[in-house]
Amino acid sequence: MTIRIRVIAFNTFREAVRDRVLYNLVFFALLLVAAAPLLGEISIGVQRVLLINLSLSAISIFGIVISIFVGISLVSKEIEKRTLYPVLSRPVGRGEFIFGKYCGLAGTLLVNTIAMTAGFYLALLIMTRTFTRADANVLIAIYFLFLQFIVIIALALLFSSFSSPLLSALFSLSMFVAGTFAGDLRAFAAMSHGPEGVLARAASYIVPNLASLNVITRVSHDQFIPAALVGYNTFYSLLYAAAAASGAVLIFWRRDLK
């Protein structure tokens, strides 16, 4: 089973890497990172803060765009090109197929994130001439961004397992936006009573809690990120992604592919 998943994941990775759109996005993100020192020049006293904010936001936004737009086409493209049928006609389970696809895209995102992180640290080195201990703190924020990506990929897969690519993109994007307001939703739920309160509470737990996975502003000011938050965020993201991916597998199992 592991070998089959690995083969599907590797092929998904290879396919994504061949995609020119992906390179354009990564190039554009790196261009933004390179532009940060220039933007800092027309401001006062925020060169380093701006470099961190701009670079990490670029990594996050482009990573989310890749997660959604590549994620939604993972299954639909295979069906459309009819390449799914020869795969499923072999001893490959539908669950293995979905999980392999998921791992392949997560691997692609990991490589992209590493490349963009390298670009960011290079820009930081050029700007500050030296690294400090606080610069290592930025890695935690980047790790959290990667956790965001694995959640979004799982959601994109879930939506693409039952709807068209356009709707899947819309749903995934909406979940991302709603996820950044998860805290507000919970606060709203706490203020509401009756059925509205129950609905608001349910919604606040269904949408991914993405706000805690964005600590860009905090690390830009060298603020300490507690180890407990790293642990909680890791477990939460893995569990949420597992739940969404399981949902995708359940739907895909029942889907009529004839």
């Binding site: 027309i42 904010n53 936006v177 502003t217 905090r218």
Partner: protein, 293 residues
């Protein structure tokens, strides 16, 4: 499509676009659009923060850039009004409550009298107090508050308290304690102000802040020298019965050794009525004495 038609269509496109560009200028002159500089499309800081989708740090940096550019443009035009400055700073610091530089510089932009700034002490103090609430361990913010209370509001007691509170924070500079004491004993004299600006100059690593402090030190030197030179000229007039016509009269009479120069290296101008002014007041924007009328 033939080559000829391609060339004709492409030429048509280029000619039409160039004509459009030229016409936009004419239309603008005939029907001018309202100036955008003081327009804030979204004025609610909380809304902007929510709409940032978690990228509030980046948006704060962009707003801060806008503050700097807005202030710079207005300052360059010797503007007396900085309408959008307070709301822009409010949005910036709500988006990123830890952007200390925005409180420090923003309050300076607000505090300095026009045309060097908005001349709004109350807004400057409100901004810096917001900064202290969000960053209680930043001694620089207490220093900036004390600085505004001292120079802008002449609230020496309040300034002494702020210097004292800031001096207790970790990493604060020892001269904060000295300033707290000076505020209670000799707040109104030039030497105290000069001491403070000199310390800002020595401590600062930011080239803009250093330059600003340098200009203030130079302006204080002028504020001290001009009355002295004017009193020499009036003494001369009392003795001779007429005002000196030039510095040379005072040098020949032994009242001065050489032509006095201001901190920029330019000679002071002695007017026929005995008043002394600087040659180029733009180079010394913070002087209160020696300004040509």
């Amino acid at each position: 499509m033939s080559r000829r038609s391609t060339i004709s269509v492409a030429s048509g496109l280029v000619v039409s676009m160039v004509a459009c560009f030229a016409l936009v200028g004419k239309i603008e002159a005939a029907y001018p659009s309202s100036p955008m500089e003081d327009v804030l499309f979204i004025s609610s800081p909380e809304f902007v923060k929510r709409a940032s989708l978690g990228y509030s740090g980046l948006l704060a940096d962009i707003y801060w850039m806008r503050v700097v550019q807005y202030f710079g443009r207005k300052h360059q035009r010797d503007s007396k009004e900085y309408k959008a400055l307070t709301p822009l700073l409010d949005i910036t610091t709500t988006l990123d409550p830890n952007l200390v530089v925005a409180y420090e510089w923003g309050s300076t932009f607000l505090d300095q009298p026009p045309p060097s700034g908005a001349g709004d002490d109350a807004a400057a103090v409100a901004l810096i107090r917001k900064g202290i609430r969000n960053n209680p361990n930043e001694w620089h913010l207490y220093f900036t508050l004390a600085f505004i209370q001292y120079l802008g509001q002449h609230d020496y007691l309040g300034a002494a308290q702020s210097f004292d509170e800031g001096s207790k924070l970790p990493g604060s500079h020892p001269w904060m304690k000295v300033m707290a004491a000076k505020m209670l004993t000799e707040a109104g004299n030039f030497e105290t102000a000069r001491y403070m600006w000199q310390n800002i100059y020595n401590e600062s690593t930011d080239k803009n802040l250093k330059q600003n402090a340098e200009l203030h030190v130079a302006s204080l030197v002028v504020d001290q020298e001009v009355p002295k030179l004017e009193s020499v000229a009036s003494e001369f007039a009392r003795h001779t019965g007429h005002n000196p016509s030039s510095w040379r009269d005072l040098i020949v009479a032994g009242w001065l050794r050489s032509i006095p120069v201001d901190p920029t290296g330019a000679p002071y101008v002695l007017r026929s009525d005995g008043h002394v002014v600087v040659a180029d007041p733009k180079k010394l924007p913070f002087i209160t004495r020696g300004k040509p009328e």
